[in-house]
């Protein structure tokens, strides 16, 4: 069964303090790993898709990387508006449909 864990559960940073979020996954035959951002009271918002180990994607202050067992979301010089829950999801294994397995998320708070 595909599984996704994320750490830490919650993270508080000062504005400008860079850090990384971790997503560890167990899947048979990864088809894709996805990062989403979710603000309170909103639905998840797509950030990145990574398909294979060694791949990297960047968007503003965010960079996502992928290995064979985990993915990292690096946040460089975060701002308060980066505060949100960051979700990791995978698609793979026997799941040949388009349903994703989500992790529990990391709640990020960036203090001014």
């Amino acid at each position: 069964e595909d599984q996704v864990t994320q750490s830490p559960e919650a993270l508080r940073l000062q504005e400008g303090e860079s850090s990384s979020l971790n997503c560890s996954y167990t899947v048979s035959g990864l088809r894709g790993l996805f990062w989403y951002r979710q603000d309170p009271g909103k639905g998840p918002e797509f950030l990145f898709t990574l398909y294979s180990a060694g791949e990297e994607k960047e968007k503003e202050r965010l960079k996502a990387t992928l290995t064979k067992k985990e993915s990292f979301l690096h946040i460089t010089a975060p701002k308060p508006e980066d505060s949100a829950t960051y979700l990791c999801a995978v698609q793979g294994g026997r799941n040949y449909g388009q349903n994703f397995v989500f992790g529990p998320g990391t709640r990020l708070s960036v203090l001014p």
């Binding site: 909103k42 698609q91 349903n99 994703f100 989500f102």
Partner: protein, 115 residues
């Protein structure tokens, strides 16, 4: 361009009652998904439509849940009769046909509270 819209945003019902949630996907998106997050748990897949056909309903918890997608446009998710454990946030998402980039467009969710 309008995003995915869901109605109602919040519904409070008593155990045993019926609730119907509605989702309007982004125009032109053939793929429509239902996910839900129950308290303290991860977001979990319920089912996937391609146009009006159910492509995958492996995540539907039991036969108290019925999803339909009339004419390949909007979708409804009916819970009948509702139980306490059905409380949570139900998300609808849509994507363009034959796009497997992981980019799902989610609605803001319908919060269901069963008392």
């Amino acid at each position: 361009e309008a995003g995915v819209t869901q109605f109602p945003s919040h519904s409070v019902i008593e155990k045993g009652q019926t609730v119907t949630l509605r989702c309007d996907p982004i125009s032109g998106h053939d793929n429509l998904y239902w996910y839900r997050r129950v308290m303290g748990k991860e977001i979990k897949f319920l089912l996937h439509f391609v146009k009006e056909s159910k492509q995958d309903e492996s995540g539907m918890p039991n036969n108290r849940f019925l999803a339909e997608r009339t004419g390949g446009t909007y979708s409804t998710l009916k819970v009948q009769p509702a139980e306490l454990e059905d409380s949570g946030v139900y998300f609808c998402a849509s994507s363009q046909r034959r796009v497997n980039t992981g980019e799902l467009f989610f609605g803001e969710g319908s919060r269901l509270t069963v008392l």
